[in-house]
Symmetry: D2
Amino acid sequence: MTVRIGLIGAGVMGSDHAQILSSAVSGVELVAVSDPDGARAAKIVEMCPEARAVTAPIDLIRDSRVDAVLVASPDETHGELVLACLDAEKPVLCEKPLAASVDGCLKIIARERALDRRLVSVGYMRRFDPGYVEMKRRLRAGDMGAALIMHCIHRNVAASPSATAPMLITNSAVHEIDAARFVLDAEIERITIVTPRRTTLSGIQDPQIMLLAMDNGVVVDAEIFINAQYGYDVRAELVCEHGTITLTPPHDLTTARSASQAFAFPSDWRPRFASAYRAELQAWTKAINSGATVGASAWDGYVATAVAAAGVQSLASGQPAKVALESRPALYD
Amino acid sequence: MTVRIGLIGAGVMGSDHAQILSSAVSGVELVAVSDPDGARAAKIVEMCPEARAVTAPIDLIRDSRVDAVLVASPDETHGELVLACLDAEKPVLCEKPLAASVDGCLKIIARERALDRRLVSVGYMRRFDPGYVEMKRRLRAGDMGAALIMHCIHRNVAASPSATAPMLITNSAVHEIDAARFVLDAEIERITIVTPRRTTLSGIQDPQIMLLAMDNGVVVDAEIFINAQYGYDVRAELVCEHGTITLTPPHDLTTARSASQAFAFPSDWRPRFASAYRAELQAWTKAINSGATVGASAWDGYVATAVAAAGVQSLASGQPAKVALESRPALYD
Amino acid sequence: MTVRIGLIGAGVMGSDHAQILSSAVSGVELVAVSDPDGARAAKIVEMCPEARAVTAPIDLIRDSRVDAVLVASPDETHGELVLACLDAEKPVLCEKPLAASVDGCLKIIARERALDRRLVSVGYMRRFDPGYVEMKRRLRAGDMGAALIMHCIHRNVAASPSATAPMLITNSAVHEIDAARFVLDAEIERITIVTPRRTTLSGIQDPQIMLLAMDNGVVVDAEIFINAQYGYDVRAELVCEHGTITLTPPHDLTTARSASQAFAFPSDWRPRFASAYRAELQAWTKAINSGATVGASAWDGYVATAVAAAGVQSLASGQPAKVALESRPALYD
Amino acid sequence: MTVRIGLIGAGVMGSDHAQILSSAVSGVELVAVSDPDGARAAKIVEMCPEARAVTAPIDLIRDSRVDAVLVASPDETHGELVLACLDAEKPVLCEKPLAASVDGCLKIIARERALDRRLVSVGYMRRFDPGYVEMKRRLRAGDMGAALIMHCIHRNVAASPSATAPMLITNSAVHEIDAARFVLDAEIERITIVTPRRTTLSGIQDPQIMLLAMDNGVVVDAEIFINAQYGYDVRAELVCEHGTITLTPPHDLTTARSASQAFAFPSDWRPRFASAYRAELQAWTKAINSGATVGASAWDGYVATAVAAAGVQSLASGQPAKVALESRPALYD
């Protein structure tokens, strides 16, 4: 049965999702879109003729013709919108973060527990990236032995002028936080932010190195560099007892020209994770039909926000920060 | 509007297409399937509950609830089924070859010309592979200068025991024939088959080297090796005046283990061209809705079959064979 | 003029050096060898007919027919032998470490200062590896901007049963310590050892992650893993303001076989650094003729030993350790 | 014992050899140099103080203080100089070609046979390149099965204005001719030159594709492109029954910058084959001391010249050309 989606937020991520839903996902229809900027909403309607523009997000959420909601609005609105979806008992896929604060995340978990039912997915799309999926599968296959270290790289071309040092953690490193938990099936106990020499091309502490101590002893180190200039580049290497597993930077071609052989980097995350986004939306659609959820849960969303918050403390103090998590409700086992 | 597809042929390719259509393509529904083997058809129905099994292909083609037809039946049936689709004036995507004989292809072209309308697409899926698409785009961008040579590799793990030497050309090299025309926007004038030392792992002339002389002077050389053992591996390098453009063998990971760093090859064409098949089916679906056709046309299907036939002559004679094509009707401009 | 070399130590490294000197270096002759194990010394004499076996190292050092001395004896003997070379005012190339203790290193520096002349080179061969040399040259070229982070990997196949956790630092990481100083032209202020989950294939804390804070703010992180199983693998990536510079694991071939495309790792450091050793011995020979020294100086040898000693403290305490160096004498500017 | 070398020719190749001999080869001394251009000879003498300039090459050859001769003079002088070395019964390493004509080569073979002793090596340096050597070793190891096809690429940045179409074969492809014989241990029976579309950046037939039919059935295809613009690039892939063996373009670093990750090509053959030249000169020096010869023999030099001559015929006729060789004297078994 075709799943009818309502989209909240028609900015870069929202438009991208609308475009994928309408042109590359099976069994789904975008039927409603809400954005305070009417012109942006109108663009989505133009692209998806079955979609109506709805002024108030809450009306979209409550509309009986909307089966499930995709939240791609500004970060600070996520928490309340997800709660409204839970009130309406509708599946919701919320772009990261689940909520801007740890408390906001815990409220959502409390509401899901009250419903005794999981309806929330958080858009940590790397869980659908073929590379990360295959890395996890390869680790589980067992022949590489146990994981010991995970090296990560997360580089953006150039940050917006409004970027701050904590945002390297809350906006960017948060993906490594979730990816490490996903690949390693382990929880994070301690986070340390190390501050190398800064690039002169930015006024903030950029790059940073994040160290995560997992509860099974694995150490994750991640370079976060949001003004790396040369390209959008996300890498990971998993060091195991018998060998290593490394993501390949995706590229279809190499060219030999001007004295070098090269492949190209994308300028942002969308081309890099295009197949992850498509797979995420396809899996979410399919799961809705079967009453299940996929991807990062509300619990995963909470943990990512909590670990990032501890990271911001470490950045400020220059010391390791302990990650103190609530105990995990059985609903999320 | 949802496009309703009827599938003829529920073998390896047919099942694969059904799986993609039902789980990864937007705006489409598989509504009917026909296969002489009832059990195979039943499996498709199980996967796609909206689909009915239809005994006679002709009934499927004529069914008013079928908007368009996907032909994935045995090669020798293609020609007649495509003609039946044209009789019913329905869009048809036919797996290669368009028809088993040059005459069969010409009949289809005559019928399309009589309709004065293009309804046929031929499943040369490389036209939708991100690598070939990007190679063509890069060539057209102009900064590499004119193409001069195209080197191709086409290796399969192991051929079926019934494979014959001409089948290297008609079944395998035919993809290079179409890909070269697609990338280079040029026509083939002459084909030569060179016969190297044979592998002892097969009783036939395997590998072979195919040389194509294009009408703009470009030479294409292609190694075809259907018992290459190590993996399914398709490669191409375009040599231009200012540099070269090379396909990267797709892989998500490398592993370092047992004294080497490696990436894996798939065992057949389906993983290698998974995104090409999906893109092909998505583009075809979209085109149906807008009354257009995409991919290789009936003309392209004819040329591929005609060039392969000349290649079989060259294999037999040990001499270059001229490719004598009909003149191209304006319908295919 | 041919430089006449005396070699002390005919073990793995000594034999390797003798082999290179006698078969691949210009302007040099191995004329004497000393090793407590007469059989090992005899093997060298067999390979280099111009060489005589000398029982006491001190006799070799004082022999007027020996122009310069190559020390490849056990680590704990290095300090005294280098001092004896300085007493004889002969150039000496000493395998790392310069001396087993910081005090031993300082004594050598004091003696060189008393002579007011540099005669000592320490065998940190990476300073002659084409990759590291080119990395440094590329950084100095300036177009990459300033260095910000250096990521290092140092993996051995399997450690000897007698290996201890501190030896990961004093024997292995010491190469990264010197290489970072060489590439970055900066001094180390602080070292921190992070201890990830241990491999079950060893009884010691293996792997370890070393963090170096350089005096220009650059942070160096280095994974040291001496039971990595899959191969000897040394890597480095320098992250700069405008891009990154990465060492390529050297290999002459790739093979496609058994479903994967692969290149091979060597089983130990000798093939990996064969050209570095040759270049080192060639440059040293040439420098002797011109009265100069090359490569790591006694000062560099002292710093490497001092930083490693601080690392051993950090490993024991679990805390960062400050690196307190003497002030550098003008002789080493 | 130190081998005393006389060098004839102080141009690009001669200077390069002198530089390697004097700074990177063991057991050798350049003692004489002859070049019609006194200034060029003087530069060599400056670099190698033991060397004297000698006006007449014949005096250099006859000089009793010269043990062996290195011929790096213009191509058309090679034949006579090698004959003079044979008259003097001195080992000679002659840059390719052995002689400009097939007859010139046969005269040298006749003279060696008369002496009943091999003194001639021809400078086909790829026989000492680590990649080609390893490719041959890997093939001989046997686990890849028999070789079936060898694909070769030979690209130069830009040809001199005086280059002609036949020179692609006689100057460039001649290296592939020798390398194929070396790797495959097989003889060439037929050569065909295929002429693709020409680059507009040159007035001659460039590129060309050379096909060699070996006497064991292996087919070698080689693209020769001497105005390839982007870099000096030599590649080879050996296709065997169980897999393939491919040369890796040597590079020490990759850089990520300006939206791409790249490695650099050299601008000419000297950096690409630097280790081959060093190994060749080292092996030749060592062989002289033991009375042996290494590398390509006079017979190999003759075959290369004869095959290239047949290739020039094929280029002119547009037809395959049979390679008719003398029968190989036992001296060259």
